[in-house]
Symmetry: D2
Subunit: 222 residues, 4 copies
């Protein structure tokens, strides 16, 4: 399922994309060598991440120009708060970590840097600045899920992999791609790469991708 032409262009111009989607943490999920304590550490940080990432998607609703943009952003907020966060709570509960403990997780600097950068992209710019900073997480996890579903040599982290390889999650990536392509056409036009904004959006996308690499690095360092 395609994630849209804008995402494809941004991704292809981001050299660090490979370091993110083929990170050692990702390899460890696929071959089952990721230590369980690293995975739980990651899940706890990711719970805090998802709270602030949901806030950033909610900010997107406030910056929409059309009802359709609002609907797509609101659908994502809903999916994050009521499904993805709920999944983390369930997975952590199975490992003996309750939600109060999750919520009390001390946020690591790598985590904080990423989500607050995304939020500031939205506050300082318009919806496109925000979407360029939101895209690497949404679509990157979609790519990683699809990749690992085929490439994995272990079922240790099959639940995690199936979540992001699922048709439900792939549909989210597709819908966000539609949202981004529409938002670009509406604000920049049919030939966005000639706009002075293009380089800036590309830079935001690359910075968020770099911060994803930092997040995986942190995951390996419980």
């Amino acid at each position: 399922m395609t994630y849209g032409k804008t995402f494809a262009a941004w991704r292809d111009n981001t050299p660090v994309w490979h370091a993110y989607t083929r990170h050692a943490f990702v390899q460890g999920l696929g071959d089952g060598t990721l230590p369980p304590e690293a995975f739980l550490h990651y899940l706890k940080q990711d719970y805090v991440f998802l709270i602030h990432f949901s806030r950033a998607w909610a900010l997107a609703i406030t910056k929409a120009d059309t009802v359709e943009e609002m609907r797509l952003a609101a659908g994502t907020v809903n999916g994050l708060i009521n499904e993805e966060i709920a999944l983390h709570i369930k997975t952590c509960a199975a490992a003996g970590i309750d939600e109060a403990t999750l919520f009390a997780t001390q946020e690591r600097q790598e985590n904080l840097a990423y989500t607050r950068y995304v939020l500031d992209a939205g506050h300082s710019g318009d919806l496109l600045d925000l979407l360029a900073a939101l895209a690497p997480c949404v679509m990157g996890y979609g790519e990683i899920g699809t990749h690992l579903a085929t490439a994995k040599s272990s079922d240790t982290y099959a639940d995690w992999i199936n979540t992001y390889a699922s048709s439900e999650y792939q549909q989210v990536c597709h819908d966000v791609g539609v949202l981004i392509d529409g938002a670009v056409a509406r604000r920049i036009g049919d030939d966005p790469t000639t706009s002075p904004r293009w380089a800036r959006l590309q830079t935001r996308f690359a910075m968020a991708t770099q911060l994803e690499v930092g997040f995986w690095d942190m995951g390996l360092d419980p």
Copy 2:
């Protein structure tokens, strides 16, 4: 169904509350004397209102301190975008007005003043400032619906009345009341009326109520 103790206190200290909930526009809905062109004019303005009101509820998600606050605010955003706006589209469609026409409605100054005031309450203050400006619309419509369901002498506007008298809508008012009471306890404490913030929150609530009166006045002036 109770709407919470904070709302009750704010309402009882707002002299203009009666002018809002017993406005001539409301009477006209109850006895069927409201001219159909005034009702359609109101519905079109209210469609634009709901877009910006949804943006303000989305802003509340970005200003929440707990996941529970986020969930309650996200549930309201969802109800507004996917149910209440959808109802307006359906009602207007039945009257021959399509959504593109609705979206192109020229926003009246009374409408603009109200929603932008609410949004600014959120941007300039914290979640409480925003909730104090959001409450009069949510709970006032709940009260009006309950009142008219009993007091109405005509079924001309029964659909509208039933929407806000419904147990679903009353549940929304109840949930928002829980959200407000919790947010007050979390930020001001158990005896909020002694805080210097109380008068300011009361003023915001009263200003939003006054702007509701202006909205009904506009409804009578197509």
Copy 3:
């Protein structure tokens, strides 16, 4: 002194511009027929206006992309808070109105609608959306000052006229024009009128101009 090419284009495509800059309130300032109570009523509302207008210019600093954009916006904030607001305080003091009374002025709906619209333009969009909503007030007063300095037939309101006709104020208009032209080039490019954003920016400028007309109307209605 020129106010820049972007402003010139926006103004020339805004039919209501004439209704704003040649409003009956403006005529009354020029021929001295404006009743003193209308002028004082206007000054009090304008004091409240300037507070929120300064907040909107401060928001522009948070949305700048370059240090030069920050400097120009910060210079305007400074001029507003330390000079223009100070002038209102002085003029009102001479008429027996102290600052506490000024600050307690009940904000009129026409006033509130205008400033909150400008602030929301900034929060929902990027710096250009905000500048398009800020420009009509800044440059319109510059045009009115220049016009009345020549056209006035009475010295009753000479202090007010001289303020906006002064080389200091004309310099502010010039600098804001430079800021806008640079911000457009940086974000849209050298041929901005072909961008899908142009119509939207034009609409924001026209809406703010319309709200200026509403402000003068309010001024005549103490």
Copy 4:
């Protein structure tokens, strides 16, 4: 010169305060052992820091409740943009680094994490949340300047030390202390430590202090 009672309380409850104000980087400024390349690296990052820190102070203007709060925040914005940033430009120019190079500095994650955390404190909360995150930098540098002015054993970094030990900078710290004490009294009252907000404000202050330690650590790692 006192920095106010709120700051004193926040500082005294922040164990990491000492690690910040007596950091090895600070010691190196005092005894002249800080390598020049570390100092220049720090200055370049601090230039980027000041840009975003100025944006956060500008955000404070938009969240003020009184004209006096606006004036104090606007004065700080002005000092940051027109004096402190200018000083960095001058110091770096003397070392052969022009402003274009400064502006192109690749922002380090430790730097980004700090300023975006402060901005988000403002966007998600009210003025107090923002001030609690702004205070450690302003006042900490004031304390460090005063301390090093007496304790220094080398004049290598005397210009830097004198900047923050100067009566002008000490006055800024004093004024910000007045702003904070007034903002607390206006929003929480005379006995703020009993409010549920107090712990939260304390946490924000401590987090910003921790991020200052991270910034010094980064300074030692060019």
